[in-house]
Symmetry: C2
Subunit: 339 residues, 2 copies
Amino acid sequence: MASIKDVAAEAGVSVATVSRVLNDHPSVSADARTRVLAAVETLGYRPNAVARSLRTDQTRTLGLVISDVMNPYFTELARSVEEEARALGYSVIIGNADERPDLQDHHVRTLLDRRIDGLLLSPTDGGSPLMLDAARAGTPMVFVDRWIPGVEVPVVRADGQAAVRDLVAHLYGLGHRRLAIIAGPAATTTGRERVEAFREALAAYGLELPDAYTGQGDFQAESGRRVTEGFLDLAEPPEVVFAADNLMALGALDAVRARGLRVPDDIALAAFDDIPWFVHTDPPVTAIAQPTGELGRAAVRALVDRIEGRPGESVTLPARLVVRRSCGETPTPVQRSTT
Amino acid sequence: MASIKDVAAEAGVSVATVSRVLNDHPSVSADARTRVLAAVETLGYRPNAVARSLRTDQTRTLGLVISDVMNPYFTELARSVEEEARALGYSVIIGNADERPDLQDHHVRTLLDRRIDGLLLSPTDGGSPLMLDAARAGTPMVFVDRWIPGVEVPVVRADGQAAVRDLVAHLYGLGHRRLAIIAGPAATTTGRERVEAFREALAAYGLELPDAYTGQGDFQAESGRRVTEGFLDLAEPPEVVFAADNLMALGALDAVRARGLRVPDDIALAAFDDIPWFVHTDPPVTAIAQPTGELGRAAVRALVDRIEGRPGESVTLPARLVVRRSCGETPTPVQRSTT
DNA sequence: GATGCTCGTGGAATCGATTACATCGACGGA
DNA sequence: TCCGTCGATGTAATCGATTCCACGAGCATC
């Protein structure tokens, strides 16, 4: 592959001049410029990003470590992150942690080794020493969706509290009283928050959330299935199951179907995170939708702000309830949108 | 950030020795080794991958440019690619082309600039000059899923012909005679092949595939919706719509639902690419499943073979039909699996 | 005791860029 | 005419690693 030296030789100038042309530095003669450009053309020269990064100490690359690529929510997040980053002149390297702390650490380490300019994280757990060290060492960092309390890093997330209240109102209105939740891992903020929001919303109606109705999931489909089976085995099964993410909802659907039962007649279902397929499931699933694209874009903006020396602010956007038919037919819907 | 020089100073040896310890070169004394390791530990030193790549001319990184991350099929492919690559000691940088040739070129260019060791491509179109040049210049390359005829590059793909024949047999057996297809872009191999396989399978039953029943889609949901609406507007609409990928099937489902019609009573639906949600759609969708994980792994193995100087072979794996209920109830199923 | 290994080590070149500094010619003002 | 300034350019240092080559010590062989 042609290097800057070859271009310099071809154009009959020094490498410094070539570099100046490429980075359009002002003091270069029109003549030199055209000769260099011609040489670049004939040689098909492309600057070596590796060498450039070594010298300038910046890679114009962002690292994004997400908990699970197979989760449509995170896929969409990743997509919007890449789009916004591209618009701002950055590339993105995605690391998939698969909800495994060890994999998460692996990716953070590789990204750091590659000297990415900044890190976008949606932590799987409470934060490994590695991550904490990186934050302390001043690596530009931003948390998306999930975060780690006590770390001085901007957080970009959706607030689901109001939407969960709307959901509970909707369920109560339909006559449901025994409500259960499939929770996410307690090590994650979203895992804890969603249970808490649910519990508080129930309390407003004088309802309890007994331990038997609090299943421990891990944001993966399989756990949703397992927990739902547990619920169905109870002497008094819940009337509604609220899955804390879309994959666990899929698992719940599997479990219900495997028993030959029907949603919502035998048991109702609602989920956190809305995805296109929920419109077409049997029945369409009532869900809490996050402004995923906005979150991704805001996170990138915050991170790039940090990288380029500006403050970089936390952002919290509201989630909203999307009512469909999985909790029963609504006479007068609480519905705010049907998208 | 600590560099190799700092480690050398701390350990009281030269940088050459540090480098030897890090790359466990044989001729290093036990004493030097322990001192270096201790220094690495106290400084929290991590080798700079950028500098290393510049010197060694290898990044231990693979580029993967896929047509659309939001498509669950490609997401799964990306995931298995990353897994296998990691097992072989490589990282993966994913570029999402969103079915847009310009974006595809953008990603190929950026990846090449970063001097990735090899490129995994699922081309959106017939191949830009950039891609063709890269292939000719000897960049290790492998095509996955889709490929470009006439380019000397291994291809890893699924062969759907037999499965499409099984599908048509199934449809014919259910009494369907007017079969339509939502095709992918003619610029892609999968776009063309699936139509051809369908047409041939129909011919075996003495059926035609009229132009009116061949809708032009682009592998995105919106096009599936548009084409399906066109079909439904025909004086004699088809009895079955076969979508050439899962997103267009989603669009078709949208269109059918929007008219207040039902699958399969009013119109039957089948899709290429099976995804977990198809089990839970209303009704569950009959689909042709590719061995996605296997494809991803085989592609990585072929690419790494190329990179490391071994031949690197093309691989073709069979796809298989998964019968569900979207084409009508089956008395005696052709079904081979129900996963 | 000289010769020739092997082993451990350090010095220095190198990868391909960017950029500080030096140089040189032209030009304008005094 | 002379000097200062500015614009265009080249030389060389630098980023952080790897690796070739040289060198000295220790040891076996003859």
